[in-house]
Symmetry: C2
């Protein structure tokens, strides 16, 4: 009989958002008349600009013509046209990332979950808490030891390194999911210095970079000098361009990023990851890559910026509501998330149930992101404007009644 | 400093097909005038029928309209419309596979490579040799012990189980890549019985099922009674519908398939795999899923059968050439592959170089698939008709000159 990877049996039974979906389904079955507003899962709602879907449709047509049909991609790392476009995008905000360091993927979650495959199981993993559950789950699936850096009210939910603690692999996310906090250049430099001192590798999740408006907040870790020797960066078009249902992202592993193997040889992490992907991934759908390419054209960028501005205005509306109610929060600027302290010192899941039952608004309980999330709650600005306003009106009346 | 997964350093440096691509690039640089015919990598060449790309284009349009825009899929297991369509396809050849047992993926390679994550590292893995390199590499990446069942000239390159040897996880592929051999129902029943006797799990790769013409060759392992208690099946639209550049496949894990954990509890493999995918995969692009759905419509099936018939005729032409030259081979029927013995008892890579240098035809050296592949060679029928005929004329003249 095959042995199981029993690390799985020690995990939460379901991925957080599947649990939330289940609770919501139960509520809907019991209250079929309820007018539910979803501000839980960080999913976008605005349609994809036509300049992008037109490019995709053109690629569909190419697939139906023998002369332009595309089969397997030779490398599986993404077509040059898209890698070059991503490289150009990096350049637009001051990060020098050559196309050859970029691999196209089907969304940041896959690479973020799978990247651990190239490391041994005895590494010390550092995760800021609260965090996107994938960082923790993907390591626990291999039975790895995880230590946490506390992000909490005192430090504005932006954990900083503790020089007295050693880590080998560090997960950072800025703008942060779930807290909406951001690292300034100075703070990120501290993390890069800490990684250098510990010869550690940073896995930097920049999925929300497009929401940054503050010029002192870097949109890539590669805006920090020396980061290429210590950091892998993962980004996605999910939030940048509404690609949650399209599935496209990219991972940067700089050629400078090398780790010494036990035999003393210097190993390129990009090459190791390429070997992994060569056996376990076959590249992204060609029409999706053409759609992604269109995102980075002048018209594409202009269109997606309009969508992002729409969400940013939603975020401002939510933040203003919190402010007017005297509810503590982080995020709301530089981020699509608003992370607030549950009124009445309620627990996260209790407040989830209360919001669902009383005002039919779905959010994400902070406790689902780690121990420092207990008592906190995440709302997203990815909804419809009128529905966001409506949700905030309901929220205000709920809080006032408490 | 992070420790590496040093199992990677023991692998072949590159995935087989990347090595072939590199050799080809060197040849092209040296012989820019050469008229190379590629019959190496198993990639299709016929365009995708318009009924399929039209459906995809319609889905692109949906993505640009707020009311029909699709974001994250709730489950990541695939939309019901596609899971139902795949279930209906299974029914058409006599396999009863409910939609709930099916997960949609971005191609069989990903799941085939990642499935090992849910098993412990101390399992005994059985792979028939020669084999698709992913079975071996994905297990070696976790340092697992692999034993091989010999597929060779004596058994028609269709290895059968040895009751005296125990295995926990068994990889089977029929129609076989690379050898083109197939298992009959009686042979497959032997494997299912062996798996039951060993309480083993079979990972069954049916990527080439659409090429089966012989009614005694099952198109799914679930055509064999009792297989649901022992087998996971992986299939792909890559070869069925020319989706190598579109990226869509499916994995079946029957709810009956359970494994006992060390604490004595019965664990559903489908649930374990769902947990893995929940953290490491976000589903397949919505327009790609709509394209895949169209494959299984009446018009879609009719169109792809025309394409498959075209490749089958190519296979017949290649097989006839081998027969007329007295070259031993398997495959050519029920399979897009022709697996032949290198003329003059040459080694596989020597013959690869000879073919490339003398007749500018690229194939795949059998040795790349395992030790029993040494001295054998794989050609694919996925090319253009005229080019296939041309390649066979060149091949005939080469063999006659030896």
């Amino acid at each position: 009989m095959p042995g199981l990877n029993e690390n799985f049996l020690k995990l939460e039974k379901n991925y957080l958002f599947i649990n939330i979906a289940k609770k919501l389904n139960v509520f809907k079955a019991q209250h079929p008349e309820a007018d539910v507003i979803r501000m839980g899962i960080g999913d976008v709602t605005l349609p994809i600009p036509e300049v992008i879907t037109s490019a995709m449709k053109q690629a569909c047509d190419e697939m139906s013509v023998k002369e332009t049909f595309k089969g397997y991609e030779d490398s599986g790392a993404g077509y040059d046209f898209l890698r070059e476009a991503v490289s150009g995008y990096y350049k637009s905000f001051g990060a020098d990332v050559p196309a050859s360091d970029i691999r196209i993927n089907d969304g940041a979650k896959s690479d973020c979950g799978n990247i651990v495959d190239i490391f041994s199981d005895d590494n010390i993993i550092l995760v800021t808490d609260p965090a996107y559950p994938v960082y923790v789950d993907s390591n626990r699936m291999n039975g790895r030891q995880i230590i946490f850096a506390d992000s909490n009210e005192e430090n504005g939910f932006a954990a900083m390194p503790d020089p007295s603690i050693h880590a080998d692999i560090i997960y950072l996310c800025s703008p942060n999911n779930p807290t909406g906090s951001v690292y300034t250049s100075a703070q990120l430099r501290e993390w890069v210095d800490y990684a250098k001192a510990n010869k550690a590798v940073i896995i930097y999740d920049s999925a929300y970079e497009a929401f940054i408006t503050d010029p002192d907040v870097p949109r890539s870790i590669y805006c920090i000098e020396g980061a290429k020797e210590v950091a892998i960066e993962m980004c996605s078009l999910s939030k940048t361009a509404g690609f949650t249902g399209m599935r496209c992202g990219y991972t940067v592993i700089p050629e400078q990023l090398k780790v010494t193997a036990s035999d003393g040889s210097e190993v390129s992490l990009a090459q190791l990851w390429g070997r992994r992907q060569g056996s376990k991934f076959n590249g992204v759908s060609y029409p999706v890559q053409r759609a992604a390419e269109a995102v980075f054209t002048e018209e594409g960028l202009r269109s997606i910026r309009e969508n992002i501005a729409y969400y940013q205005e939603n975020a401002r509306i939510i933040a203003d509501t919190m402010r007017s109610l005297g509810v503590k929060f982080t995020g709301g600027v530089n981020s699509p998330y608003i992370w607030f302290k549950c009124p009445g010192d309620m627990g996260s899941w209790d407040f989830f149930d209360l919001m669902l039952e009383k005002i039919a608004v779905v959010g994400t309980p902070g406790a689902g992101f780690g121990k420092n999330g207990e008592g906190w709650f995440r709302l997203t600005s990815f909804g419809d404007r009128q529905r966001t306003i409506e949700a905030m009106e309901r929220f205000a009346s709920l809080v006032k009644s408490m």
